[in-house]
Symmetry: C2
DNA sequence: TGCATATAATAAGCAGAGCTTACAATATAG
DNA sequence: CTATATTGTAAGCTCTGCTTATTATATGCA
């Protein structure tokens, strides 16, 4: 069992799966997935930007972002507005309906953080996050 | 961009995606996925156990494990042998062909570890892993 | 012994997250 | 004005994992 723990990749993959499960269980009221939540979260922080820019920020392909936005549009949490300066592009905005969902996401995030980090000191947590970011950066320059 | 870093869940999901990409790129010679590698890795450590036990060890559903073993059987890296004590069950064994693949997995793991952790001290790494395991445990008791 | 219940594996089918390739419409540089 | 680049999308694939039956076998119990 704890043999796995030699292997960082497996451990992260595993944790990721548990996070997704956790997230989906708590959020069954609002039918949003982790990836959608992440996209929505970014939209709320960069409202009005183009899809390409969003995709870039999330480091996913434009097509993947287009699909996520399709879903968020279907749920009427997000609007595509023609960019007045570029008729190819859309600007992405939140709808009023998005607010409670964002709050819900925040709530579940906090819950999860609580459940994961409750036994850790805040110093430990921030050190952990910093290390994780460095790992991630190491993988990015591929 | 760095706004995401407030959110541990998103950060881990993201890192996971990068790990999977890394893994698949380096391993294109042998057509094995991360999940298959993980299963194979476990089989090598618990050779002869039943599928249910493997599923349990990896904390995935028996059906998910059955599929993974189907794939590994197709690749002839693993064999299902009738359990002499229980005619419902199979015991899982490596084939001789598995060895080089396991070595390859080891190689790529080491490569990834190197690339992710090169800038970190070993003390930092083990502290990181310990914290990660605690997070994961926190999520497990759901 | 015989039956009810539990367990091992699997069939079938779905969902989530992401990718690639190809293409239309529009911008922009030369 | 033409060539090139960019925005968004259609179509379809992969990978990882799940749920809900079903079949075959074990096993506890009466």
């Amino acid at each position: 069992m704890s043999d796995e723990h030699d292997n960082l990749a497996f451990l992260i993959a595993d944790t990721n799966r548990l996070i997704r499960q956790f997230f989906q269980q708590r959020l069954r009221c609002s039918p949003i997935t982790l990836a959608q939540a992440r996209a929505l979260f970014y939209v709320s922080r960069f409202e009005g930007v183009k899809q390409v820019e969003l995709a870039d920020a999330l480091e996913i392909q434009p097509m993947t972002m287009a699909r996520l936005l399709d879903q968020l549009c279907d749920l009427q949490l997000v609007e595509r507005v023609q960019d007045p300066n570029d008729r190819r592009a859309y600007q992405i905005f939140l709808t009023p309906a998005a607010k409670p969902h964002l709050a819900e996401i925040e709530r579940v995030s906090a819950l999860m953080r609580e459940q994961m980090l409750s036994t850790l000191g805040s110093e430990q947590v921030s050190s952990f996050m910093r290390t994780l970011i460095r790992l991630r950066t190491g993988l990015l320059n591929d």
